[in-house]
C-alpha cells in the first residue's frame, strides 16, 4: 500500500520534471541537429559552395528526441533504479547459482570431449584451440592482475618472448618441443623478473604505463633485431611438435603408421588441442595450489593492503616479483605453444591489442576467479566468432553485450572470492569487500 502511494506521489511530482528533462534534451538536439542536419552544404558544379536548409527534418528529429526522452523517463520510473537486482529476476539468479556449482566440472568434461564430438569440423577444433590459448593466457595474467593486483598492460611481451624462444631454439639448434617448452617458460619468467625490478617501485597508473611500454619495447626489438629474429619477416618453418619423439605426419615413422591406422591431418589438430588443454589445466592447477600456499596468500594480501603487508614482515618486492615471474612463465608456455601451432611467427602477432584482449578477459571474468576467466575467454573469443555473420555490426553488438554485462556484473562474471583456508565452512566473500589493488 505504502509503496504504491509513494509511487503515485512520485509520478505526480514527476510530470513537470519529466517535461523539463525532455525539453532540455530536445534543446540539445536542436542545437546539434540545426548545424548537422539543418544546413546542407555541397560543392557546386564550378567548385563554389552551395547550401540549402532542411528545417523540416530538424523539427522531426527534435520531436523524436522529445518524445523519446519522455518514453525513456517513464520506462525508468516503471522499472525503478537500474542495477543487478532489477535486471535479473531472483528466480533466475538462484537457478544460476545452482548451475554455477556444477558448471566447472561440466565444462571440463565437455572440453575433453570436444575432439570426439567435432572430429570432422576443422573450424570448430581450430576455434577451440584458440579459445584454450586465451584461457591459458587469461589464467596466467590472472596471477598478476587478479591475485597480486598489479595492472600489467604488457603481458603480450612474455607471450612474445616464449614464442620467439621456442622458434629460435627449435630452428637454430633443432631442439625438440619438449625441451624448448620449459626453456621458453624460464626465459619469459626471467624477463618478467628483469622488467619487475625497476618497475615494481611504481604503483597504479604508472605501473600500467611502464608495462605497456615494455610490451612495445619487446615488439620493437623483435622488429629491429633482424639478424636474430628475422625482423618483420618473422620466423618461418618452425618445427611441429612430435608425440614425444614420434612425428605426427604421413611418413612410415609417423604415429598413424605405427598405430596402423589411416593418416589424417586432423590427428595433429587433436594432438594440439589436448596439448593446449593440458598446458591450460597445468596453469590452473598450479594457480589454485599457489593460492593456498603462503606465497599466494601474500599476493592477495598485497592486493588488499600493501602497507599492512610490510608491517607484517612480508617482503613486498620479492612477493611482487614472484607474481610477475609466475604470470610471465605461463605466458611463455602459451607463446611456445602458439609458435609450434602456427609454424610461423612475426611481430604482428604480438601487438598491444593482444594484451588488451587478455586483460579484458581477466576483468570480464572477475579478477581472481579461475572459472570466470575461462568463461570470459569463451565469451570473448567464441562470441566474437559467433557474431561473424553480422559483419560490420559485429563490433557494435559485441560492445553492447560488454556494456550490458558490466551493468549486470560490474565486478566481472564471477566477482566473489573463495577463501583459501577455513575452520568450519568456506563462505564466498562478496566482491564489494575484495579490493582490486592499486599497483
Amino acid at each position: 500500500m505504502k509503496t504504491s502511494s509513494s509511487n503515485t506521489a512520485k509520478a505526480a511530482s514527476g510530470i513537470p520534471a519529466l517535461l523539463k528533462t525532455a525539453g532540455f534534451n530536445a534543446l540539445i538536439a536542436l542545437v546539434l541537429f540545426s548545424l548537422m542536419v539543418g544546413v546542407r552544404t555541397e560543392a557546386g558544379s564550378d567548385g563554389q559552395l552551395t547550401y540549402w536548409t532542411r528545417f523540416g527534418e530538424v523539427a522531426s528529429l527534435v520531436a523524436a528526441v522529445f518524445g523519446g526522452s519522455i518514453v525513456l523517463e517513464l520506462l525508468k520510473q516503471w522499472i525503478g533504479p537500474s542495477g543487478a537486482e532489477k535486471l535479473v529476476p531472483p528466480a533466475v539468479r538462484s537457478g544460476m547459482s545452482f548451475v554455477g556449482s556444477y558448471l566447472a566440472p561440466a565444462l571440463l568434461i565437455f572440453t575433453l570431449l570436444v575432439p570426439v564430438i567435432f572430429y570432422d569440423q576443422r573450424y570448430i577444433l581450430d576455434l577451440a584451440i584458440l579459445v584454450l590459448t586465451y584461457v591459458m593466457l587469461g589464467w596466467g595474467l590472472n596471477v598478476v592482475v587478479g591475485l597480486a593486483g598489479l595492472l600489467d598492460l604488457g603481458y603480450v611481451a612474455f607471450y612474445a618472448v616464449g614464442a620467439y624462444s621456442y622458434a629460435l631454439l627449435a630452428t637454430n639448434f633443432g631442439w625438440s618441443f619438449w625441451i624448448c617448452l620449459p626453456l621458453a617458460g624460464v626465459l619469459a619468467a626471467f624477463w618478467g623478473v628483469l622488467l619487475g625490478f625497476p618497475v615494481l617501485r611504481l604503483r597504479g597508473d604508472y605501473l600500467a604505463i611502464v608495462t605497456l611500454a615494455f610490451g612495445e619495447i619487446i615488439r620493437l626489438v623483435i622488429i629491429n633485431w633482424q639478424d636474430l629474429t628475422g625482423g618483420p619477416n618473422g620466423v618461418s618453418s618452425i618445427p611441429r611438435p612430435s608425440f614425444f619423439g614420434i612425428p605426427l605426419d604421413n611418413s612410415d615413422n609417423g604415429l598413424a603408421a605405427r598405430l596402423g591406422i589411416e593418416y589424417s591431418p586432423t590427428h595433429r589438430i587433436i594432438f594440439l588441442f589436448y596439448l593446449i588443454l593440458a598446458l591450460a589445466l597445468l596453469t590452473n592447477w598450479v594457480t589454485i595450489r599457489l593460492r593456498r600456499l603462503p606465497i599466494g596468500r601474500a599476493w592477495e594480501a598485497l592486493r588488499e593492503d600493501e602497507v599492512a603487508c610490510r608491517a607484517l614482515g612480508i617482503n613486498t618486492t620479492t612477493t611482487k616479483l614472484t607474481a610477475f615471474a609466475t604470470g610471465a612463465m605461463f605466458g611463455g608456455f602459451a607463446g611456445a605453444f602458439f609458435a609450434t601451432r602456427q609454424g610461423f611467427i612475426s611481430p604482428e602477432s604480438f601487438t598491444f591489442q593482444e594484451s588488451a584482449l587478455v586483460l579484458a578477459i581477466v576483468v570480464l571474468g572477475g579478477m581472481g576467479s579461475q572459472l570466470g576467466v575461462a568463461l570470459a575467454a569463451l565469451a570473448m573469443i567464441g562470441g566474437f566468432e559467433l557474431f561473424r555473420s553480422l559483419e560490420s555490426y559485429r563490433m557494435l553488438v559485441f560492445g553492447m553485450a560488454m556494456v550490458l554485462i558490466m551493468i549486470w556484473r560490474p565486478r566481472g562474471l564471477i566477482g566473489h572470492r573463495a577463501p583459501t583456508v577455513y575452520l568450519t565452512k568456506a563462505h564466498a566473500i562478496s566482491s564489494d569487500l575484495v579490493k582490486e589493488g592499486h599497483g
Binding site: 588488499e304 607484517l312 614482515g313 617482503n315 614472484t322 572470492r417 577455513y422 575452520l423 566473500i429 569487500l433
Partner: protein, 277 residues
C-alpha cells in the same frame, strides 16, 4: 642499554622539509611492561611510531631494540619489512588496516607468512604437498584459532574481515599483529572509536598479553581510562618533544602535562585527568 629495557629511543629527530615533527626525543620501554606514549593531537606520537616500525627513516638519533637473548638491533638501520621480520616488532594502525576481502582466519595466516614460507621450502615443498608443510600449516591454523579465541572472534573465523564491526576489527588487528609472535607490540590508538565496554575488554586483552605471554607493549592512546589503567610507564609528548615521563600517578599530577594537554584551563584539565583514573 640495560638488560630489562627492550626498546631505547635515543635523541630521535624527524624532520619533514623544514618542519620538525620530533626533536631529540629519548625514552625507553621496559621488557614485559606496557609503555604508553601520550600527548595532544599533532604532538608527533605517530611519527615516533613510524620511525620505530620502519615506515619513516629518522633524520637523526638511534632506536635500539634488545631481544631476550641479548641481541641488540639498531632499528634505524633496518627498513621496511625487515623490522617486522628480523627485529620482531609488530604494529597496528590508527585507521585499521586489515585485509578486508580475506577472512579473519586468512588475515591471521598472512601474519605467519615468513614462518610458513620457510616451512613450504619457499613454495616448492608446499606445491608438491610435502608433509613438512602440511604440519606447519596445521600449527599455523592452531595458532590463529588460539588468537581468535582470545579476541573472542572464533565463531566469525570464516567471515570476511571487512564485514566486521569496528570494535571487532580493532581486536582482529591486534590478533593479527600477535600472530607474527613479536617481541614488541606497537599499538596506534587501539581504543579509538570503542565504547566503554569494548575499551574495558581491550584493557583486559592487553594486560593478558603482557602477563601471560610476556610481550612488551608500546601504545599510543587518547583514551585516558585505558592508559591510566594498564600502563606501567607513560611518556608525554607535545610539539615533538618529551615534556614528562613516569608512572601514571606521576604523570597525572604533573602540571606541565595538564597545561599541555588541555591548554591553560588547569581546572578543566585536572577534571579530565581525574576522570581517567
Amino acid at each position: 642499554m640495560s638488560r630489562d629495557q627492550i626498546l631505547e629511543v635515543d635523541r630521535l629527530t624527524m624532520r619533514f622539509g623544514g618542519i620538525v615533527a620530533v626533536q631529540d626525543l629519548s625514552f625507553a620501554a621496559e621488557r614485559k611492561k606496557i609503555t604508553a606514549l601520550i600527548g595532544p593531537n599533532g604532538a608527533g606520537k605517530t611519527t615516533v611510531f613510524n620511525c620505530i616500525t620502519g615506515f619513516y627513516k629518522p633524520s637523526g638519533g638511534a632506536i635500539r631494540l634488545s631481544h631476550d637473548d641479548g641481541k641488540v638491533i639498531a632499528l634505524e638501520r633496518l627498513n621496511d619489512f625487515r623490522i617486522a621480520k628480523q627485529a620482531k616488532v609488530a604494529r597496528t594502525f590508527q585507521n585499521i588496516r586489515l585485509f578486508p576481502g580475506m577472512t579473519a582466519l586468512e588475515n591471521l595466516m598472512v601474519a605467519q607468512h615468513n614462518a610458513l614460507m620457510r616451512a613450504s621450502g619457499f613454495t616448492l615443498l608446499g606445491l608438491i604437498g610435502a608433509p613438512v608443510y602440511r604440519d606447519a600449516e596445521k600449527r599455523a591454523i592452531d595458532l590463529a584459532t588460539d588468537w581468535l579465541k582470545r579476541v573472542n572472534l572464533l565463531d566469525r573465523a570464516d567471515d570476511a574481515a571487512g564485514n566486521f564491526a569496528y570494535g571487532d576489527q580493532r581486536r582482529l588487528e591486534i590478533a593479527r599483529a600477535m600472530c607474527t609472535e613479536p617481541a614488541l607490540l606497537c599499538l596506534d590508538e587501539p581504543a579509538a572509536g570503542l565504547n566503554a565496554r569494548e575499551s574495558a575488554a581491550l584493557s583486559e586483552l592487553l594486560l593478558s598479553i603482557r602477563n601471560e605471554l610476556g610481550t612488551s607493549i608500546l601504545l599510543i592512546e587518547h583514551d585516558m581510562s585505558v592508559v591510566m589503567e594498564i600502563s606501567d610507564h607513560i611518556v608525554v609528548m607535545d610539539h615533538g618533544v618529551k615534556i614528562s615521563e613516569g608512572s601514571p600517578r606521576e604523570v597525572r599530577d604533573d602540571p606541565k602535562v595538564i597545561a599541555a594537554y588541555l591548554g591553560t584551563d588547569e581546572e578543566e584539565a585536572a577534571a579530565v585527568m581525574e576522570s581517567g583514573s
